[in-house]
Symmetry: C2
Subunit: 459 residues, 2 copies
């Protein structure tokens, strides 16, 4: 099998490569690279100080061995794994499993990352409890949605298995603190730790991702190998040849200097769409906030699928405001394809005759990029050799590093999410949590505003 | 069963209802309603001139009878239906079928709206040809992706059934013109027509949606009834009580006067997410274009799921730029729910004890809306009584009318999509279509730009 690769082509985002001559000039690129290097230095300091841990994860050998050993022994006892988790506890696992569909034969792993009762309650009843292992994932150990799911599962398992529930639940949380950690200790549950210095959206290479992925049968070692290749290049290559610094410099320019409102991730592979959804959290939550001077910044991440969404969003992209930066993703090798026959006898369809379906797909990939770049839109292209673990691992790690240093170079803290606290507090207040009763007055005010202008249609 | 309903609450987008006192003043709302009424008048003229047909579809009785009769007879012969179609030929069907999951027992209908060979080729092999009916949907009859799928299916059916393929393919296309119409006539295939005055994204109530939905077992008559209720209100109610005009006036204000960059559709129902995806095409393609004076306008549609994406995008929404308008969607009644037990003994989790999962879900719905509205963000809330056909039909039709009159009132043509043509032409040129060979020079130029700045990582 040929060597796999990961290409990053920023030509269409540069003046010298963009067909309309728009994008970063050489001096703008140099300037942006300079700022990005400062971001990288900040990251190095945070890593050295032990405050940021995600860059060590590709080298996480001992933990990896423990996780894979336990996961493969559990796979012999249980036919399926149900993950209870939300946000960073869910998106990485979903991205990798979906990303390997058709490539790797996998055990069934289902991720529940919502608490919509109409979805969760019937789904829960579908799992034969005897064959199902549950893993509860929450970095803090106190995520309301995940705990609600956990209590419902617990109730079900206790009725059926009495004390035997304890061997059917695996906890992944903080090594020392929090509700779930205490439960794991008290009840003697199997558990793994999330390093405190690794935030949810940077945690796919901790047991948060590695345990469910190992259970599924993903070659997690190869996933980390891909990340290590990117990390090696990141640490050693000179700026202009450094994939992380180069990509970050281009993204930074369009995030800050020539700020675009949206980051469009145009994914030409049905199975890689969830990588885009994973990225939306990473980019949105890491960079959408107030900067050091209190100014609100951020870029709207949008994930679209090629070719499908050409028939949905391309009109807006082509003729609407020039306020977006585009990243196109695809993989070159494909395991399956088929030649189109029977189209030759009509002039309107004969261009399809004898072509593989993949040729149509690839031509549309190019045509869409060209069409946007030709209008002067900044377009970045990421190409993988083939969909496998090292490509996906490398891609996820690349995007984590890029996001972190773009944020740090823009005077943002890419590792916090202060803006979501209020919603959590209001939720608890509404549910009667006494410790937040002071917010009841605000709730009254909100409720009074509501209904001031409302129209009802009786159906 | 209680009467179903559709509520539209714009309070949090109005100065008088928004907790931070931001949004449209009374006079701004009146002004916007005035402009929207002009948009409505334009729409009426286009309808009267026969140029725009979608507003007649809810009253489409004869066609409806034919479609349902044929669909139910075919359902007795075939166990599953495969839809070949993309964009407007796919999104409505997907939205309605997914929207009724858990509510209606349905036959299997699979929609293929991509030509990724790694997805399409293996999927095609999974359908037992003897039990499968195929429907090819293309308004123009010449959509490249759909034709490519069609030829691959045809090849498969001809090998297996010889002349019998003809009873296994249903064509839905223009009544008179185009490749697919000619094939249907020549081969004597069963076919339905898409009225020429109805564009793809407005076509869910034509056979494009009605045929596959009828086959699935959706009560399509009720779907149209919901649309009729909205249409009746639209035509008769005074502006301030008119759900279509009121919603359009608020959206128009934040599209044009106080223009926001993005339209965030925050959907608190796992099964209604595809309604959001359907809407993304409608809003993006109808309003993302050049206006009468040549200025590029448009708003980025973003669909997010509650509560899940609170853990992904809420940070950006809360603390990032105030450049978005939010529409929250939910349904009040739920068929399934469950009480949380076992959470009472710990102070950190006791707020969950004895609550239904749905109470947590609803509290987060409110908390998230309040949190955004409290920061002065414009928030609109759409509430349905329950997920069923009249609610979904009403909602889709509401959004179609709103989109059309917002566009017309902003001097846009909401019914065209000129910006996607170039991509189609470049695709054909690349595949060797002689009629577009003049574009080969452009392609050379594009290709020369590419690779000017590229980095490769060997994995």
């Amino acid at each position: 099998m040929s060597r796999n690769f990961l290409d990053i082509d920023v030509s269409f985002a540069l003046k010298k490569g963009n067909p309309a001559g728009r994008g970063l000039s050489d001096s703008e690129l140099r300037k942006s690279l300079g700022k990005i290097k400062k971001g990288m230095e900040k990251l190095t300091r945070l890593v050295d100080d032990g405050e940021v841990g995600f860059t060590s994860l590709p080298y996480y050998e001992n933990e990896l061995k423990k996780v894979t050993r336990i996961a493969s022994s559990l796979r012999r006892r249980y036919r399926r794994l149900v993950v209870l988790g939300i946000g960073g506890s869910a998106l990485g696992t979903k991205a990798v499993i979906e990303g390997l569909r058709g490539v790797r034969k996998m055990e069934e792993v289902t991720v529940f990352d919502n608490v919509d009762p109409e979805e969760f309650v019937p789904a829960l009843e579908e799992f034969p409890p005897g064959e199902t292992l549950f893993t509860v994932i929450s970095k803090s150990g106190g995520t309301a949605e995940t705990l609600a799911q956990y209590f419902l599962v617990l109730d079900l398992l206790k009725r059926r298995f009495k004390e035997g529930w304890k061997e059917r639940v695996v906890v992944i949380t903080d090594p020392k603190k929090g509700f779930l950690r205490e439960v794991a200790e008290k009840e003697g549950l199997l558990s793994f730790s999330v390093p405190p210095s690794v935030g949810g959206r940077f945690s796919v290479f901790t047991p948060v991702g590695l345990f469910p992925l190992s259970f599924a049968g993903v070659r997690v070692r190869k996933l980390l190998e891909g990340a290590r290749v990117v990390d090696g290049a990141f640490r050693t290559l000179p700026p202009e040849d450094n994939p992380v610094l180069l990509l970050a410099a281009v993204y930074r320019h369009f995030f800050s200097e020539a700020a675009k409102n949206a980051f469009v991730f145009f994914i030409y592979s049905s199975f890689l769409k969830r990588v885009g959804e994973w990225f939306c959290q990473l980019w949105g939550e890491s960079l959408g906030k107030r900067d050091g001077s209190g100014r609100p910044v951020g870029q709207i991440p949008v994930v679209v699928t090629g070719v499908t969404d050409q028939h949905s969003q391309l009109q807006l992209y082509a003729d609407g405001p020039d306020d977006k930066i585009y990243t196109f993703l695809r993989v070159v090798d494909r395991k399956r394809d088929r030649v189109i026959r029977g189209a030759g006898s009509d002039g309107r369809t004969s261009f399809l005759e004898g072509k593989r379906l993949g040729e149509l797909f690839d031509s549309e990939f190019d045509a869409t990029r060209y069409s946007l770049a030709g209008r002067g839109r900044p377009v970045v292209t990421i190409t993988g050799g083939r969909r496998d673990e090292d490509f996906i691992g490398g891609l996820l790690y690349l995007m984590q590093c890029v996001t972190a240093i773009v944020g740090l170079s823009c005077d943002l803290n890419p590792f916090d999410q202060p803006g979501v606290e209020e919603g959590k507090i209001l939720t608890k207040a509404m549910l009667g949590d006494a410790s937040h009763s002071s917010r009841m007055k605000d709730l009254e005010k909100f409720r009074k505003g509501e209904g001031r202008k409302k129209v009802r249609l009786e159906l």
